[in-house]
């Protein structure tokens, strides 16, 4: 066990290094970025202001030196200042983070809560009516562009029926107490739904195939022979084993959720990290772009690490390398 954890941790070191290199090169080698000549580039810019910018951001130094300097600041969690409003990048991220956590956390929770029972029931009767219907529905969800679903839901539920607010975090003058919580929830409903369904389709298919495979195995048959009910055999024996591949993939769901967040936050004017990232891309706010992409990739790496180790705890075969 310890050997597996150590090996997994050691393998994560070059990956982390690779992430920092990709992030750095992404911004510094792109034409039009401050690093290279090109339209809108600072290297083309002339005059004292441009000279000042170059000195300030070290753009006149060679690439490896800039990378070293940037890294030495990153390890101290110093992300620099935003080009746009000159506030510390960490401050801007801290403002947007709670909104994104609320949205993504809700979506992840909803996806797991709906997808797991769905997958277990469908996998319990492969090719049964429920399995076929749910497979068709999930397939349609899987092919549905998030922004289209968002626009349709807005048109139907917010514009036509007026059941839910069109966009925003909360009303302009939110009511106090319990009514205020309801107000927040009604604003959360549509964006959370849009972010949920993609992950839901993914998890449900995974659980279904795991359960369907386990259902036919000897140990489930043995459990039934020992007198376990269908239900017990399904949930206690088949589902538990289907849980391991799910565990290893939860980490990788994180970047998918953040991708979806960019679109959903933009449509529903939700001031989170996705919105912040898109804004900084459009305004070429390099320090924010660097910080957000590094942060999201590093958190994903940690999450995959954690879920791999969790899978190894749950299933000895993962540790031995018999099952990946």
């Amino acid at each position: 066990m310890i050997r597996y954890v150590v090996r997994r941790l050691l393998l994560a070191v070059p990956t982390l290094l690779g992430i920092t290199v990709v992030v750095f090169l992404l911004v510094h080698l792109a034409p039009g970025s401050p690093g290279l000549g090109g339209p809108g580039s600072l290297r083309r810019a002339t005059g004292r202001a441009a000279e000042e910018m170059r000195r300030l951001y070290g753009l006149d130094r060679p690439l490896p030196e800039r990378f070293g300097k940037w890294m030495s600041r990153v390890v101290r969690f110093d992300m620099g200042e935003s080009f746009v409003d000159h506030r510390p990048v960490s401050e801007r991220i801290r403002e947007a983070l709670p909104n994104t956590l609320l949205l993504n956390g809700t979506a992840l929770l909803l996806a797991l809560l709906i997808a797991i029972p769905l997958g277990v029931v469908a996998g319990g009767h492969p090719d049964g009516t429920f399995d076929r219907v749910s497979a068709g529905a999930l397939f349609a969800l899987y092919s549905m562009p998030t922004f289209w679903a968002a626009l349709l839901l807005q048109t139907l539920l917010a514009v036509q029926l007026r059941w839910l607010p069109l966009y925003g975090l909360a009303s302009d003058s939110p009511p106090a107490g319990f009514a205020g919580v309801l107000d927040r929830l009604s604003h959360l409903a549509l964006p959370a739904t849009c972010l949920t369904y993609g992950a839901l389709a993914f998890v449900a298919r995974l659980v279904r195939s795991g359960v369907a495979e386990a259902r036919a195995s000897d140990y489930v048959l043995a459990a039934r022979a020992r007198g376990a009910s269908r239900r017990q055999a399904l949930w206690r024996h088949a589902f538990r084993n289907a849980l391991v591949p799910l565990l290893t993939l939860v980490g990788l769901m994180l970047p998918a959720l953040l991708s979806g967040s960019v679109i959903v936050e933009r449509i529903f004017v939700w001031p989170g990290l996705g919105q912040l990232y898109l804004d900084s891309i459009l305004s070429r706010d390099y320090p924010v772009i660097l910080a957000l992409s590094l942060l999201s990739a590093a958190v994903t790496l940690l999450a995959t690490l954690a879920s791999d180790i969790a899978a190894a705890v749950a299933d000895p075969r993962v540790r031995d390398g018999t099952v990946s």
Partner: protein
């Protein structure tokens, strides 16, 4: 198995319907020159008209006919989808096959590279590449191809790992064939079925990715818009013109589901026969 049934005959019913839809879409794409004039014709007096006999899908914020615009955008979305998926497949196979064939240190390094790309939210990378390079279809294709290859690479690596100990791989090596020759001439044809399935899913995925980019405003420069580009106007007019949101989305949804269903069907068709007949 009966001697050599064609892959179309082995597709399940849904897969055949999907194939028909894909063919139909390409026929529509071939007819677009007839619609290009109308798609670009701006009539401000006719802006934001609801669907009617003259404009079956309504008009947009500049009075352009929405049906003509959607048809005119078809070849753009389809081509970008196919070419990006092909780029992704080629890069993915090169990386995955190299890792699987050589093993050891190259495998360790290339597997880290795959892991690095997978750690980023895909849209973060796509947006950065698409926004920083000069706007053109090639930029979009490069952005999508260069970010989605890790999936293909994983499949290719797994396939090559399985095959490298097979008799014919050993035989080719004994006869002095070089690694690229063995990989491309001998192993690639046999690794193809799962890669084709992965590529078909990749087409649907790439079309979605391109639409997302254009929707967010870093896609193709006008007037050559794609479906995502048409949809970009929808949030602004959501209160008065629902048709701008509905119809381009239907085209997008139909296309992506057709490719995904075709991929699913190919998976069944190609696995039942078990490699080459």
């Amino acid at each position: 198995m009966s001697a050599r049934r064609s892959w179309i005959a082995r597709l399940p019913g849904t897969g055949r319907v999907a194939l028909a839809v894909v063919v139909l879409l390409w026929i529509v794409a071939a007819c677009t020159p007839l619609f290009r004039e109308r798609a670009r014709e701006i009539r401000l007096a006719e802006r934001l008209l609801p669907p009617s006999a003259a404009h079956p899908f309504g008009t947009d914020d500049l009075g352009r006919d929405l049906l003509a615009r959607i048809v005119a955008a078809t070849p753009i979305s389809l081509t970008i989808g196919i070419v990006s998926a092909a780029v992704s497949l080629i890069v993915g196979f090169a990386v995955g096959a190299t890792a699987g064939w050589f093993g050891g240190v190259p495998d360790l390094l290339l597997s880290r590279a795959i892991e690095v790309v997978l750690c980023f939210p895909l849209l973060f990378l796509l947006l950065a590449i698409a926004a920083f390079l000069p706007p053109s279809p090639w930029t979009i294709i490069a952005a999508i191809g260069l970010t989605t290859w890790p999936g293909d690479a994983r499949y290719a690596r797994a396939e090559i790992l399985k095959m490298r100990e097979l008799g014919y791989a050993h035989a080719a090596r004994t006869m002095g064939a070089t690694a690229p020759r063995i990989l491309i001439r001998h192993l690639l044809p046999n690794a193809l079925p799962p890669l084709i399935v992965s590529a078909a899913f990749g087409v649907g995925w790439s079309i979605l990715a391109e639409a997302s980019l254009s929707f967010l405003g870093v896609g193709l420069p006008g007037p050559a818009t794609s479906w995502g580009g048409i949809l970009a106007a929808a949030p602004t007019y959501i209160l008065e013109a629902w048709w701008i949101a509905l119809f381009p989305g239907i085209a997008l949804f139909l296309t992506v589901s057709a490719y995904n269903l075709l991929a699913e069907g190919l998976r069944t068709a190609l696995s039942e026969g078990g490699g080459r007949a």
